[in-house]
Symmetry: C2
Subunit: 340 residues, 2 copies
DNA sequence: GTTCTCAGTGAGAACGTTCTCACTGAAAGG
DNA sequence: CCTTTCAGTGAGAACGTTCTCACTGAGAAC
């Protein structure tokens, strides 16, 4: 492999000037020609390891996730990677398998590896490990949640307001007896609080026994949806706070042969068919009303912000939260109980 | 950040010995204690960039894919990453968006980045870019396909034999009027050839007008499945050579309200519900008979083989193909036309 | 007791860049 | 015409490791 010293010999231009040229600084026209000719002739490629040693930049960034087989992440990663690659960065993938302890270890490993930045979908409610990175000058961006006790950039969607608005629209259609099944995560919590607030602001008292919290890893969404349906005073509208529960609703619909929205109206957070090769649901009519997240956008903005942070010295910015808009699609799955 | 020289001063042991200790060579007990104490005290972490400069090892490997949002890949990547991480390697993700030209560029970028190895699901039928890497001493492992003209390790499943056997079983159940819809990829080709051979070996001449090749990006699987169903002498068994087409079959079943297997028998290559949060199909009875690929295993063996190749000097091995076994599950979706 | 072996050691070169700093010479300013 | 400026230059140090090589000294072999 030819080195910059070979190019120096071949071109007759000093390695300092060659290095400058390679890093985009201006050199005289005649030197540019000489250098380019020599590089071409030798098929010289700069060695990024040697380059990184002095500059302590690796042009690699980390992506730390709980589970890449969760359909939420691939579209985000795809767009993130595309944007980072376009800017000369590589993306290192780190799946911590939903293990909060492993998450901490993985982030530390990446940090020791001298990555230039990272995005992380954390499962720890404490952000100590993240704060450590930031303090060490490593830019980190939080994905899909906030950690109130640390100063850290984040990309989220407006879970609270999205549900607040969507449920508000359903209430205006006449629904007041509202139930929900929701999961154990940060986002589920935000969403269900949006629902509560919407009800309260419309003068409806949420019935807590109709808001069922489940552990999506352990509990069955279908079973809990069934409990709502089997109540004496069963809800006219059921909100499913994530895709797992939405799919539960789909199963219940088919199993019980439910008529939607005659028997019950349904509102789901997330898209049920996210994967291009798994869209075997959208044609079942009526589609569920849903709130869909701009997954590619999340990846895009994560890349954009991270690139900015990498450029800027660590102490000269305030942490920001980029809150992206969801898209709400109320379909025939929500009954109009009153004329509008 | 403390360096090895700080540890040298603190411990009184020379940096050579410290380096040896850090790389797992034996040092005397007393030196070990001194070094460990100094490292602990200074919170020293080895700088992998500096280390990589001399040793030209980055402990990073690449994963080059056409599309990470294809549900086929995440389970593979997950297991691959887990195994590589356990062995101290990082995984760099590179999604080339189904663009063969970009694939070549991305692999070259990774190669220039001095990764230690790579796995690639190629979309190029020529392996020139891969051969270039191998010749340069960079181990590359092919995923899910073979390239006959280059000497390269690969991990595949036994597409041909899996279909050969499965179709053979269907034929023994009495099916002889067999149709198929298949895609444009290498694997589709292997599979459909397995089908052809199975028919021929049972003395049945495949009717080529019932073996419909489609471009899964452009053509509609449903439409083509419909064409088979609408034939005067329509097949008693339809083989779908991949998950996209299998989902097409699912849609057709629901749209046309087909009775399976009374109206037609179905055999699908791949699992329809691969994603943990997308299993809203398996409960529709009868499940489609299918051939499922051991995705985690693919990731595991890819990691195993790649680690081996990284250890071994490039010219001392013969390229191998690891062909993993699929699992065939013939359900009630294939009618028994004759008593067995 | 003398030689041989060999695991363990430390000094210093090497890896291939970037960075620092002093220098050059042409253009600008007086 | 003389000073000032400043973009561009090249020599050599620096980055933090690993590698090479000559050396040590304890135990084995004779």
């Amino acid at each position: 492999m030819p080195t910059i010293l070979d190019v120096e010999k071949e071109s007759g231009v000093s390695k300092s000037t060659i290095s400058r040229f390679l890093n985009g600084k201006t050199v005289t026209e005649q030197n540019r020609v000489k250098i380019e000719k020599a590089i071409e002739k030798l098929n010289y490629k700069m060695n990024p390891i040697a380059s990184g040693l002095k500059s302590s930049k690796t042009f690699s960034v980390g992506v730390v996730l709980p589970d890449i087989t969760d359909s939420f992440f691939p579209p985000i990663i795809k767009e993130f990677e595309r944007n980072m690659t376009e800017n000369g960065y590589n993306v290192i993938l780190s799946d911590y398998g939903n293990d909060p302890q492993k998450e901490i270890r993985q982030l530390e490993l990446l940090s020791n590896k001298k990555i230039d930045g990272a995005i992380i979908a954390t499962s720890n409610s404490s952000g100590k490990h993240i704060q450590t990175c930031i303090d060490a000058g490593l830019p980190v961006i939080l994905l899909d949640r906030l950690l109130p006790d640390i100063k850290c950039d984040s990309i989220t969607v407006d879970n609270f307001n999205a549900v607040y608005d969507a449920v508000g629209r359903c209430i205006k259609l006449g629904h007041s007896n509202i139930g929900a099944v929701y999961g154990q995560y940060y986002t589920d919590n935000e969403r269900i609080n949006g629902l509560r607030k919407a009800m309260l602001d419309h003068g409806i008292k949420p019935e807590e026994n109709k808001l069922l919290k489940i552990n999506v890893q352990e509990d069955s969404p279908e079973e809990n949806l069934g409990r709502l349906l089997d109540m004496r005073d069963s809800p006219s509208l059921i909100f499913c706070s994530n895709v797992y529960i939405g799919i539960g609703a789909l199963k219940v619909r088919l199993r019980r042969n439910l008529r939607i929205p005659q028997d019950v109206s349904v509102l789901v957070f997330d898209d049920i068919a996210t994967f291009p090769n798994h869209d075997y649901v959208s044609f079942i009519k009526p589609e569920f009303s849903n709130i869909s997240q701009p997954l590619s956008e999340i990846g895009k903005y994560a890349a954009k912000l991270l690139l900015e942070r990498i450029k800027t010295p660590w102490d000269s910015y305030e942490a920001v939260n980029i809150e992206l808009k969801t898209r709400c699609n109320i379909t025939a799955s929500v009954a109009k109980l009153i004329k509008t």
